[in-house]
Amino acid sequence: MIELTDIHKAFNEGQPNEYWALRGIDLNIAAGQVTALSGPSGSGKTTLLTLLGCLSRPTRGRVRLKAQDVSGLPERFLTDIRRQTFGFVFQQFNLIRGLSALDNVMLPAYPLGLPHRELRDKAEAQLAALDLGHRRDARVEWLSGGEQQRVAIARALINSPEVVIADEPTANLDTALSKQFMTILERLLDEGRTVLLTSHDPLVVESAVVATVVRLRDGKLVEAQMLFQPAIIALLLASLLSAWRCLPPQPLSPRN
């Protein structure tokens, strides 16, 4: 679904504090499953996620979304793509303070100009599905962390995106709430959505819901070393084979 080829991302390029956060990433994100990005702090997970979600553009390399090259598109088109394809759940939730939960959920749909009634119904349904129907008129800053996250998830889903992107979704949650989040993930999968998330949390990374874990270190894929795996296996096989050859030949029992 999303294909990255030789992605490099530099911050402050050409300046003394130039920093290459990603250095040559090739990655294929499969549709309809949960992919987790994991790795130590500063390894480039968030940076990679922003590239996958068309929030930023690579310094070098190509991003293809459903076989369309989006890495060269101007910001105006990226906005369109973001609105149609992606829903974001940010680590700090990034809800707009002072607005009600319902208003926050409706926000991404404003530029679409849907009839107000229809949009309201949709938003209320999203909140209800996340057990938040009773809190819809509360200002978001009065909600608990878990409630805020569910509002953020409802907001991410309001435009029915194919891909849901979540940065450290469980970092601010306790174990119980993290488990609840995993249940929500399952629901998203059932609805046929693709989910991309970053996490250090073993609860997430080792969960059965997560189909693929992409490991990052210093802006590179750890799997890149796994490319040598066939060679290692071949070597192993070869040594096994030679070891087997070195074994003393066993006398074959005569056929009768």
Binding site: T46, T47, L49, T50, L55, S56, R57, E75, R76, T79, D80, R82, R83, F88, F90, Q91, Q92, N94, I96, R97, G98, L99, D103, L107, P108, Y110, P111, L112, G113, L114, P115, H116, R155, A156, N159, D167
Partner: protein, 378 residues
């Protein structure tokens, strides 16, 4: 089209919600903005109404006034002058005037006494200006006494108080009969303070003035047009001073607005980032903020202008009187006829709403074209 309208409605809704969310900041801004418009509009309305008034009053004054000068000082017109002037070609109508100043120690103010030959009050009766009536606390029917310069006490019955609409000129006026005037001031018989005359052909006013100066070398003709110009320049000058002071105020406001607006609060920047990340276009964000700025500046403009209108035309510019009408001893409390000038409104609009809109838009535009990935690192 319907979609476009629905979209604008959502933007407007959100705009109103954001305005309400930052109530204190926006109210403060609104207040400062309205105040600025109020002061500026007051000055503009006031001076233009005043100028209008003065022009109006002078329009009904004589075209030429002739004074006699002795040793560079204004002196009395001796007998015979009026007749000599009447013989000059082009002069249509001549009349002698009697007027003088009287210092009233009771209220420590100067009055202008005007002795009338036509439509004069009966002997022993006077008409007084509004300001004088107010200060001395008299009304029609009361008796007012003045001690003349020669020491004699004169008592007059007040016939009427002059109407308020001409108060700018008549506030300190005392109208009385010619004979009473001469008696009160011990004014020499057949002498006049000055002479008014009208000219048949307005084009010839200057030629006639020249002829007058030649025929009566000790006289000085004062032309209405010149008085008008002097008035204009006085008003312009006063207005200029006030406007110079105010431009400093505008500058301060501009800096404040710029600071307020360009120092987009971290909160606002974050919000712009969020909106962009969740699929708002840069244009949507800018439109929304534009609505916000326009709403504030238009409301402030209207509020300020209306307040200024009420201040100037219903409260007689009470806050400005000391500055702008400083030449009168008795501050006239008069009601100006409302004069509204479209060009003036446009000018004011141009210098307040527009700079604000720009001051607001530039930083928003800068914030909204940045990459939205910053929102991931709040």
């Amino acid at each position: 089209m319907k979609l476009w309208i629905a979209k604008q409605r959502y933007l407007a809704d959100f705009t109103l919600a954001s305005l309400a969310r930052r109530k204190t900041k926006n109210l403060g801004l609104l207040l400062v903005f309205s105040l600025l418009v109020f002061v500026l509009a007051s000055v503009m309305l006031f001076t233009s109404a005043l100028r209008h008034e003065a022009t109006q009053v002078l329009a009904s004054s004589p075209e030429v006034i002739l004074q006699r000068m002795v040793a560079g000082r204004h002196d009395l017109i001796p007998p015979g002058y009026i007749e000599r002037i009447g013989r000059i070609r082009g002069v249509q109508k001549t009349a002698g005037r009697l007027w003088g100043y009287y210092y009233d120690p009771v209220v420590k103010a100067n009055y202008t006494f005007l002795g009338l030959t036509e439509d004069a009050p009966a002997s022993g009766r006077i008409k007084v200006g509004n300001g004088l009536a107010r200060y001395r606390g008299v009304q029609a029917g009361n008796v007012l006494s003045f001690r003349s310069y020669s020491g004699k006490l004169f008592s007059f019955t007040v016939d009427a108080v002059l109407p308020a609409d001409s108060e700018l000129i008549s506030a300190d006026l005392v109208l009385l009969a010619e004979a009473d005037f001469r008696a009160f001031f011990d004014y020499p018989a057949a002498h006049w303070t000055d002479i008014t005359l009208s000219v048949a052909n307005p084009q010839e006013v200057r030629t006639v003035a020249q002829k007058l100066a030649n025929a009566l070398p000790d006289s000085r003709p004062i032309l209405r047009d010149e008085v008008l110009r002097t008035y204009q320049s006085i008003f312009d000058w006063r207005e200029g001073i006030v406007l110079a002071l105010l431009s400093a105020a505008i500058l301060a406001f501009a800096i404040l607005a710029w600071d307020k607006a360009s120092g987009l609060s971290a909160e606002e920047k974050r919000e712009i980032g969020i909106l962009k990340a969740i699929g708002w276009e840069t244009g949507d964000v800018i439109r929304m903020k534009l609505w916000e700025g326009l709403l504030i500046s238009l409301t402030a403009f209207l509020a300020g202008y209306i307040a200024a209108y009420v201040h100037v035309f219903h409260f007689s510019a009470a806050l400005f009187e000391p500055v702008l009408k400083g030449w009168a001893v008795l501050y006239p409390r008069f009601t100006l006829a409302p004069v509204i000038d479209g060009l003036q409104i446009a000018t004011l609009f141009f210098f307040t709403v527009l700079p604000y809109a720009v001051a607001v838009l530039v930083p928003i535009w800068r914030a909204s074209v940045t990459d939205p990935d910053a929102v991931m690192r709040a």
